[in-house]
Symmetry: C2
Subunit: 145 residues, 2 copies
DNA sequence: CTAAGTGCAAAGGATTTGCAAAACA
DNA sequence: TGTTTTGCAAATCCTTTGCACTTAG
């Protein structure tokens, strides 16, 4: 993980940004929670545990910065807040979410099931697909009866 | 259209709700803009033209009511506000959006391209699909070069 | 040293809510 | 008449911004 932090540090430095302790802590939190979908508030709470002095505004500003540099990406489950995940957008192309309507659990669907569909959209609508975002709603194994 | 308004009126009355003039105006606006994706503010502006006295809160409350009764449904393009369309959720199942990254135009993709995918998600993840929502990002015919 | 980054508190935008007045059934 | 519904304004929630202070490089 140290490795990744350094890599990201280089990535930022290359673009005239500083890798401050706050940014590093926020990055660590994102790395430690790769599988979660953290809201800004969640990140704030987690970072506070390591560094009680960080401000919420810094968290927002840092997430925005990471977003611009494709260090993280954001998803929106329609619950009124953005959620963030470590990893760049190219991952997202092959990574969708199934949201359980009963327990709220979110499954990662890690296949790209939409290649065929993209071709079809191009053919039928003359629309060049760059990215897509798919949310699936239903019942997970535990909640269906 | 009168027809549809009456139908919806019955639908509401059957459930102990009243079809007030305000609600009727809001419904008319939704019907006159089937193809658009109106925000609450948009609806408010349009309704004001017919009935200058309606309040924004009433618009929000009415949209919420219509949503609960499957008269309209909502979509979220991630721009920080909900958007509303006439038609119930069963339409949505066969109705997706392609969003142009350059001009912002939104194309309706009116095919269900995801039947196969639903089967696969059930098989691979033991997840019963009730609904899905697909957003496609890219360049429309006019904007691609 | 000095531009970039920070924390705080205040501002912002979308949506919700409390409440007294108004209106449907 | 008795609930519902309304309009208004205030409140709320998430996010952004202004500003004086601090810090990384």
């Amino acid at each position: 993980m140290k490795n990744i932090i350094n890599q990201v540090g280089e990535k930022l430095k290359a673009k005239e940004y500083k890798l401050t302790p706050q940014r590093q802590q926020i990055l660590e939190v994102m790395l430690e929670n790769k599988d979660k979908h953290l809201s800004a508030e969640d990140v704030y709470t987690l970072v506070k545990r390591k560094a009680p002095d960080v401000g919420l505004a810094t968290v927002y500003r840092t997430l925005e910065l990471f977003l611009e540099h494709d260090i993280i990406h954001s998803v929106d489950f329609g619950d009124g807040r953005k959620r963030y995940e470590y990893g760049d957008n190219s991952d997202r192309h092959h990574h969708h979410h199934a949201i359980c309507l009963k327990c709220g659990k979110i499954l990662e669907i890690n296949e790209d099931l939409l290649e065929e569909l993209e071709k079809q959209v191009f053919k039928d609508y003359n629309f060049v697909v760059i990215d897509h975002e798919l949310k699936i709603f239903g019942y997970c194994g535990e909640c269906k009866r």
